[in-house]
Amino acid sequence: MSDQSVMPPVRSLGLAERIRLIWQAKAPGIGASLGAPTAAILVFLLIWHGLAPRVQTSLGELPGPAQVFGEFISLMEEHQMEREKADRFYVRQAERNAAWVAEDPTYVPVVAEWTGKPTFIDQIFTSLKTVFAGFALATIIAIPLGLLCGSSAIMQNALNPLIQTFKPVSPLAWLPIVTLIVSAMYTNNDAWLPKSFLVSAITVMLCSLWPTVINTALGVASVDRDLINVARVLQLSWTKRIRKIVLPAAMPLIFTGMRLSIGVGWMVLIAAEMLAQNPGLGKFVWDEFQNGSAQSLGRILVAVLTIGLIGFVLDRLMLSVQRLVSSGDAR
């Protein structure tokens, strides 16, 4: 089950091959056996268990793995309780609407969403939705931009300084600008897309744009010259050339870029949510930090582990899509 075994060799893509080798060098056979990772996790838990009580904070000692697991369970229970409260809320609302209509048939009943707090699970889904929205926006912009840069040396030269300047900008620098622009341009508070969602998604987009742009450009630029020449001989139209030759050849690198993008996007999102108090896991962490109760540290650690695990899953998801595309290309 090593990374290599799943990966069929891709011919005619020297660079993609090299990139892949780099990836594998970073993760040398993690899946080689189940024993090694299990042992590493156990050692980590033991060290955590041993050291945590020695770290004293103003909120008490750092919670160990057992306490964190306990907090995880209580977060799940809270989620269940909130769902039950929501059900009762909808029953009361329906009764009230019926009574009001009975009193005045012209009354148009309001069907309000449950007004309770978002639970930990709700926050996870909010964050996931936001990151996917930002990532989708980034991809829609980045792939054409990358195609443009990769297929023309002039465009590449022209846009490169801009891309290189914007690429290293931290999300926290974009955030105030995005917030102000969205607030100014999007004034309808009752719209179905909340302002905070837009701010977070656009911030994610701005930061996760660049890996896809750069890798797409690289992928397009490194398409085999022979293939391009064949296309020329066959007098393929520009669109056909892109569709039949350039895109398939550049696909593995495009997906490498997208995989990097979603990783960056996920990290950026948590920071943006913390700073802007936008709903999601980042806000959950910040709220708990502000509460400063005895459970706060444990709950924050649950969130930290969740953020990490989701990031890991997102990365693996993109990796499998990338492989699917690469193998399709090889056939």
Partner: protein, 467 residues
Amino acid sequence: MLNSHATGSVLRSGRRTDTARSAGSTLLIGLALVFAALMLAQGAWAASRPEKQELKIGFIKLTDCAPLIVAYENGYFEDEGLYVTLEAQANWKVLLDRVIDGSLDASHMLPGQPLGAAVGIGGNAELVAIAGMGVNTLAVTMGNSVWTQMKTNVPMEAGKPVHPIHAKALEPVVKATSASGTRFNLGMVFPTSTHNYALRYWLAAGGIHPGLYTPADANGTTDGMVQLSVTPPPQMPATLGAGTILGYSVGEPWNQQAVIKGIGVPVITAGEIWSRMPEKVLGTRREFADRYPNTVRAIVRAVIRAEQWLDADKGANRTDLARMLSRPEYVGADYNVLVGPLTGNYQYEKDDIRPAPGGNVYYSGFAGYPFYGDAIWYLTQMRRWGQIPVEQTDAWYDGIARKVYRPDIYRDAANDLIASGDMQATDLPPAESYGAPPSQFIDGNVFDPAKPNAYLESFDIGTKGQK
């Protein structure tokens, strides 16, 4: 008043119809009466129904957000047909911006926010205060090292400091710290916050100049012996712990948090500075109040009922309240931190817990009523510390207070509740009320809301007259 009477009775008859129906065997004549009442009232009911039922209301994690939490948790908002989402805000600046831009329909606010917006401090906006939220909920806390030095200057009785502790005791510590070249930094929560004015009042009463705001100095540090800066309330203990500030003024439970975490000692509480410090208001945009008068009135009815519950039976509900507020989506501090100030047992030091009966009042003594006089007091403090840069006439103060404070809305809502039997008529101050009942200040000065300029003249420290 006829209309308001109808509102109250119809809302209640709405609740009663279900019972009547379920009873089944109710006398025919009873049914006929209910039917007749419904027919008569239908027009009035449609006219008093809340125009907007789904609302988002903001709050800051403090004990004085309790009326909103209770109105939500006890179902008072829902009784009015209001579906309210309560949303904690990161700090007072974010909260104010979100009220102004319409992200929040209404909010727990500092009185200085709608007033400041009316006189152009930190932006211009038309906001109104429609109810009071909490009296005497703040305190001033000093870090442990400052307290140890300060304590030597405090008179003792039976091994415990005599209260109130005057800022005179702090003055030598400030001087020594400044002489050693370190700035004496203190935290408060917002430039126009109750906490800023309370801290300045206490410091100045003890001869410590807290600094003035000038057109060129928006930080308010000119001529100051100490440096005041802004930190969001829930972050105060952490900021004090990190040593960025040496003490702070903030609402509860963030002073009790400092004692229990062992990083500081509350030296003075709100009620000791001013026996009746009106701490927060329920605020909204004027445009919102004009557009949705029934909604705003319904919000105030729910909040009044919550404030009644909070002070009912000599505070019998306060332990329930502490448990409610300790939930992470509300204040989120531990129950044992919240329960002290809410039940009137205030912890000053590890071994110094004293009864503090005047703290965290929500309803008694007209605590929920937005008196013009309260607005005037805040405006005098804005002038005193230079946020209002030029002298103003007494009539000007009155004009701003009448523009921003809306006891008329509160009275309409209260009269609905009195009509429906949900409120005692004696709990509503007379219609001609201007200021709250007389109260005392730590410096012995007398505040007459009709004479703001005379009040400003009575201070040794601060701007007055044309200066």
